[in-house]
Symmetry: C2
Subunit: 299 residues, 2 copies
């Protein structure tokens, strides 16, 4: 980790003070990596809660007034509102301000930023912390949310190296492991490991919620079910936006999954036990190995 | 909870000393609800491990020699081996021995027991503790696995009330909440809340395991992914058997799920954001409410 405290961010503007924005502010404050944090919140209740929790110094409801003098602007709203936010702030950015985001999809964000930011696009650094919980809102924010987690940055040819360095340092001072990746690769990988599981979990819980014996179903469900469906308690707006803006990679991942599930349905129907056992074993081995490898890297 | 220690089980035979069988033995011993526990294990290594861990008093590899003088026999092997086990022990049971099981499917088990046990079927109590972890084996067994968990018993018309009472008392002394349910209802409910999620998790992990960029996928996957797929680390043999023996209810649950997932795929393809948001909200509300209601009942 770099000694972030030696070069703190003078003024950080966080647009969207929720779980991710709030946790970033907390982490940077704890690390002494920021001097002033201004939150942009549409609701005064959220802004006041964030101040009371010590997450931000003050808040405004309109970002235009504060981005002018910002060192770094972090956009942490659901992806669907990015275009509006970027259009609003674009004319007010100064020539040194670095803009970054925390969105779970990157091609859409890069395209939108390129369209909205004009010359300032060079200082836009697309980012995505692979961290979170199923809870939302600033009340769920914690300062160690990003510790030992990956943060993926997907700079493009136009991205200024200085801007990239600044955002890299910002995330490193939260304890995160920063890596760079191609925009397309990011969207395909995340579609498979995150967006697909969320859609599946929502679909499953939706089936049970419509079940005539719903009360008994949820009552009888074991701990494994609640682990499995934890991600279906995530923010519906955020996930609507991810589905809409990462459409092609997500549909591709869904198609692969549906093909495999169809094959399993067929094997169950035809009572092909050996085939099922071999698939289940392969899945168990892959997951256990993936988990072991993650644990080794943490230790 | 009844004062189980006042009427302990004299000799308990547990066929299959794994996570569930081992945890049951531990819980009954801790509660003073059993005098002697004999394990039946095909492998001497498992039997010796179970003795060393204090789970059982002794073990045999063939159940026939010990069921004759047993008060209760618990079958805790994967469901696929039940027919063999029941056929082997049937001629050796005495007229007072109660037999029960811990299988995750009940119609198949009832049919098999009826066929194999003859007159002793009256003292067979079909049971299913809704508890477990993704880990397997006696080394994973713990004495509080069933505390505050549901145990479902599915007696049939032929089941003797005395046998049912004895098995109810046995589970109550582990701290479990025992409820009775119709065989068919059990299999439909469990297909939806447990068997379906397991098949989905196996299918998802299987897709990722076959992905060309597999290493990176598992490395980048967030905690939510590992929660979501925890059940794909469950015992493949056990789950093969559940898929084979609860075929019709499981295929029905899978069909409902596939229909909902198809609808979501279509909505994503057609960019119908309002529809997605409404489904996601409904799912989140249902899961959160289910979880709250479970928590309330525990407290």
């Amino acid at each position: 980790m770099i000694a972030a405290a030696e070069t703190p961010i003078r003024r950080l503007v966080i647009i969207g003070v929720g779980l991710i924005g709030g946790s970033l502010a907390r982490a940077l404050r704890d690390a002494g990596a920021v001097q002033e944090v201004i939150g942009v919140a549409r609701s005064a209740a959220t802004g006041e809660k964030a101040i009371a929790l010590g997450v931000i110094d003050r808040f405004v409801d309109d970002p235009r007034s504060v981005v002018e003098d910002a060192s770094v602007v972090v956009i942490a709203t659901p992806v669907g509102s990015f275009a509006g936010v970027l259009e609003a702030i674009a004319p007010h950015l100064n020539a040194a301000t670095v803009v970054t985001d925390v969105g779970s999809v990157k091609q859409y964000v890069v395209d939108t930023a390129r369209r909205c930011l004009g010359a300032n696009f060079r200082r836009f650094v697309p980012g995505h912390p692979i961290a979170g919980t199923e809870r939302s809102g600033v009340q769920a924010s914690v300062s160690d949310l990003f510790r030992d987690r990956h943060v993926v940055l997907t700079p493009v040819a136009a991205t200024e190296p200085m801007a990239l360095r600044l955002v890299t340092h910002m995330w490193e001072s939260t304890g995160a492991d920063v890596l760079e990746m191609d925009v397309t690769e990011h969207d395909l990988l995340l579609a498979a490991t995150s967006h697909l599981p969320h859609v599946i979990a929502y679909a499953l819980v939706h089936c049970l919620a419509r079940h005539p014996d719903r009360g008994r179903l949820f009552e009888l469900a074991a701990g494994g079910f609640y682990d499995f469906t934890r991600i279906a308690s995530s923010d519906p707006i955020m996930w609507r936006d991810i589905c809409l803006t990462n459409k092609e990679p997500l549909l591709q991942a869904l198609n692969t999954f549906q093909t495999q599930l169809d094959a399993m349905v067929e094997a169950i129907g035809e009572q092909r036990g050996e085939q099922l056992e071999s698939w289940f074993k392969e899945a168990k081995l892959a997951r256990d190995a993936g988990l072991d490898s993650k644990r080794d890297k943490r230790n």
